[in-house]
């Protein structure tokens, strides 16, 4: 229920921001659309802590900041390698995943893909196959460069914050 309310508020905010009109008629249409969307989402059974992790809100904020910095550095590195100032040494590695929940695993794999210079390509028995463009980048992944910044996901802990 908590997730449904939070998702509804988020969808309604999206409606208002995208339309930019505040007439009662249009806001009414907005409310109807939000209720219809929530009904579909409930029927599809996708409103839960996985699709809508409100228990992680504050941790996610810090996570995005650190990840943004890493993405910036990786961009410069890959740019230099494309232009030929550094060597391109592709590596194929597999990483052990310590994350226990599906959400944690998905965040780990997607963070690796989002960082240029490393892309996750396959997941098998708790191991993640990763292709990196440089040996240094592969070593950084082995040292837990990205694994350390993934928020620890305990589904039982509920801080109750809004996303």
């Amino acid at each position: 229920m908590k997730h449904t309310i939070s998702l509804g508020a988020l969808l309604f905010a999206l409606w208002v921001l995208l339309s930019g009109h505040l007439e009662p008629l249009l806001l009414g249409f907005g409310v109807l659309s939000v209720i219809f969307s929530l009904y579909i989402a409930r029927r599809m059974d996708v409103v839960d802590h996985e699709s809508h992790p409100i228990h992680l809100t504050f941790k996610l904020l810090k996570f995005w900041l650190v990840l943004g910095k890493k993405i910036f550095q990786a961009n410069i590195d890959v740019t230099l390698r494309i232009l030929g100032f550094k060597a391109v040494e592709p590596q194929l590695i597999k990483l052990k995943m310590d994350q226990t929940t599906d959400l944690g695993k998905a965040m780990y794999a997607n963070s690796i893909t989002l960082t240029p210079g490393s892309a996750s390509i396959h997941m098998e028995e708790g191991e993640l196959y990763v292709h990196t463009i440089s040996r240094q980048g592969a070593q950084d992944l082995f040292d837990g460069d990205i694994a350390d910044i993934i928020p620890h996901d305990k589904t039982s802990s509920d801080t109750g914050a809004n996303q």
């Binding site: 597999k94 490393s118 892309a119 997941m123 592969a138």
Partner: protein, 111 residues
């Protein structure tokens, strides 16, 4: 005036990164390496261009739309990249110039 200069700097930086990514599509010689070139254009390039445009308007509905465009690009690009790479892997495409099987640490191999 100062925002115009800042917009110019950010948009030019973004376009340069985009051109480098496009160049990388041709300089890198294998599908998995090209994923990284696309990664550059999906993250920092779009951020610079959209941020430069957002500076032009100040805080308004337009800025929020630009932010939403950036967020959609940011959230969908890793999903698209991963499903593409995973498809290629399961189809049997293997990267060039690496070990044929993934290694779990660098201690064992000599190179």
């Amino acid at each position: 005036m100062i925002t115009d200069i800042l917009t110019g700097v950010f948009v030019s930086l973004g376009c340069t990164l985009g051109l480098i990514g496009g160049l990388g599509m041709h300089r890198l010689d294998d599908f998995y390496a090209r994923l990284h070139a696309v990664g550059v254009t999906d993250t920092l390039c779009s951020f610079f261009i959209l941020f430069g445009l957002a500076l032009q308007t100040g805080l308004s509905f337009v800025t929020i739309k630009l932010l939403l465009i950036f967020l959609f690009l940011l959230f969908t690009s890793p999903a698209a990249s991963f499903s593409l790479a995973n498809n290629a892997w399961q189809w049997g495409l293997r990267p060039k110039g690496t070990n044929s099987e993934p290694v779990s640490s660098f201690n064992k191999d000599a190179s």
